[in-house]
Symmetry: C2
Subunit: 329 residues, 2 copies
């Protein structure tokens, strides 16, 4: 009967899939008196974890006050929460897609925070899979908090897959934008939300890989102007080394551009995004872990599409404005 809430937490976490790099995507739900008073996900490495953001939201809903500090500053958030009156969350049930962290990194330990806050019950989908981490559950149990583990474990594992891959080698995401009938290459993103998401993803990845033909034909910029963030380093995947330096992507400050047909960078633990069409899809076929397909609600007569035989599976579908963002592998 608890699966619906865990599913909400997992869905919330998917909204920030990739964006949390190098951290995992994690979601949390807080229930109090038949109401969902917190539903949050970890958004960005170095900022507050999912359960902390959900607890802050829960405080706001219970107290009907807005907090005034930066909720993404984990030290401020932990400090605020652990100084609330004792028992403030005593009647709350918390669902978390991953075992709360017990170690102190850039952010303080969430398990230690929950130990102090003593909610009624904590339901966790998945144990921390990193060797040497973990211990969060034992901490909660020692504090006599009721803990349940294993709700929607399979779905929570799928959510965590990029994180597990980029521990060992590059996680390779192929990004495509298409119409409902599979036409590409016409700048097919209808919504500002999709465009912003592309730029958020670019900002967080280690390297953006693009095909030489696309660079020559489309003369792209490949920056992060919608998020005003740092533009990604570029690998132009090409046999031929010479490119017109007037192409906008070369004009961007604080970015490295490499032209190479060597893919050794994929061995290194990292997050690599490939943007391209049929050519890159074919060239990179065996290297791609996941596909992120932005689908715009439009049928088009543009003949440009991609033709390749490949079995996929759908992982998650999310809204981005009027578009849908389809995670597949």
């Amino acid at each position: 009967m608890t699966h619906h809430f865990m599913q909400l937490a997992i869905n919330k976490a998917w909204q920030y899939q990739g964006l949390t790099y190098p951290n995992p995507a994690v979601g949390a739900v807080i229930l109090y008196q038949d109401n969902i008073i917190g539903l949050q996900a970890h958004q960005k490495a170095g900022t507050s974890h999912a359960e902390v953001l959900a607890l802050v939201e829960a405080f706001e809903n219970i107290s009907e006050q807005k907090i005034e500090f930066d909720r993404f500053d984990s030290h401020k958030a932990h400090n605020f929460l652990q100084n609330l009156p004792k028992g403030f969350f005593a009647e709350c049930t918390i669902y978390i897609t991953l075992e709360p962290c017990s170690h102190v990194g850039k952010t303080p330990s969430c398990a230690s925070l929950l130990e102090i806050l003593k909610p009624k019950k904590v339901i966790i989908a998945l144990n921390d899979p990193i060797a040497g981490h973990g211990g969060g559950i034992q901490k909660l149990q020692r504090a006599n908090i009721q803990v349940e583990v294993g709700s929607l474990q399979k779905e929570a594992k799928e959510l965590l897959e990029p994180f597990l891959i980029w521990q060992k080698r590059a996680f390779v995401l192929f990004k495509l934008a298409q119409t409902s009938n599979g036409r590409i290459g016409g700048g097919y993103l209808s919504s500002q939300e999709s465009l912003t998401h592309v730029h958020q993803m670019r900002e967080v990845c280690d390297t953006l890989v693009i095909g030489g033909a696309t660079v020559r034909n489309d003369r792209p910029t490949l920056d992060c102007r919608f998020t005003k963030g740092k533009s990604p380093n570029i690998l132009i995947y090409s046999q031929q080394k010479s490119f017109d330096q007037e192409i906008p992507l070369f004009q961007i400050q604080n970015r490295e551009v490499e032209v190479s047909n060597n893919l050794d960078l994929l061995e290194k633990p990292s997050f690599i995004i490939i943007e391209g069409g049929e050519g890159m899809l074919k060239a990179m076929q065996t290297k791609i872990d996941w596909y992120l397909i932005y689908q715009t609600p439009k049928l088009s007569t543009n003949p440009l599409s991609y033709s390749i035989d490949k079995k996929l599976s759908f992982l998650h579908v999310d809204k981005k404005g009027i578009d849908r963002m389809i995670w597949s592998k």
Copy 2:
């Protein structure tokens, strides 16, 4: 804060969109002590409504007993529920996407049932939009049940659109099956769940419209063998009247087949499904209300696709086994 539960009810209702014809798609959620103990939708006209199915499920979860009667028999279900000990649902909150019916039709009145069961609170997305119906909310209020109306009204209205259309004229649904890269015509449904859903939809519609060229080239059966239901009546949309009577669709018992290029049937309140490819899509373009696109997780080199300029909007995405079912308009 109540939107998450209403959204669950709406999502559940979408699973039976179209299949409830001529009834509306309706979903219901029941909450008790921070748990969802009922989540159900109306499935088929003449059978129990969403809130009744959810109440039966809630009974099973609270009592930890399985009921032994047919839960889809609304008379048996109402009778069972109203004879439960007084106050059985007194601590429950019920979310329903549509005002509970106050009139007695093929099924007894749900508002009258709730009046007896007296749940703590009933949250309703939308008033009954049919003139002369309604009155369910007043019934609940007169019984001193706390009622809230208007949560996710916009989404609940969208869910109800086919129902509102088929009150006045034909609701026309165009069905397509395609790969992730928009290739059609290769029998592109991977999952038995998708195939079964297609047959359920065929069974419930008034007429299945198909293009003459498709009949000649594909020699389809267009039956409901996966649901063992009655195969739909067929309109072959064609100028030319003569067809090889050996084509399987003509061999099906208890079915009418008409060959015509007259679309007067669209004036009549009814539910029409069109199956076809690019030709039918172009011919029917101005007549189509909604699109149901089954998308299979596969990239394909099959060159057959469809090329047409049309702006759509996404309504809902659902799983059907490994496939996704995308409602658009």
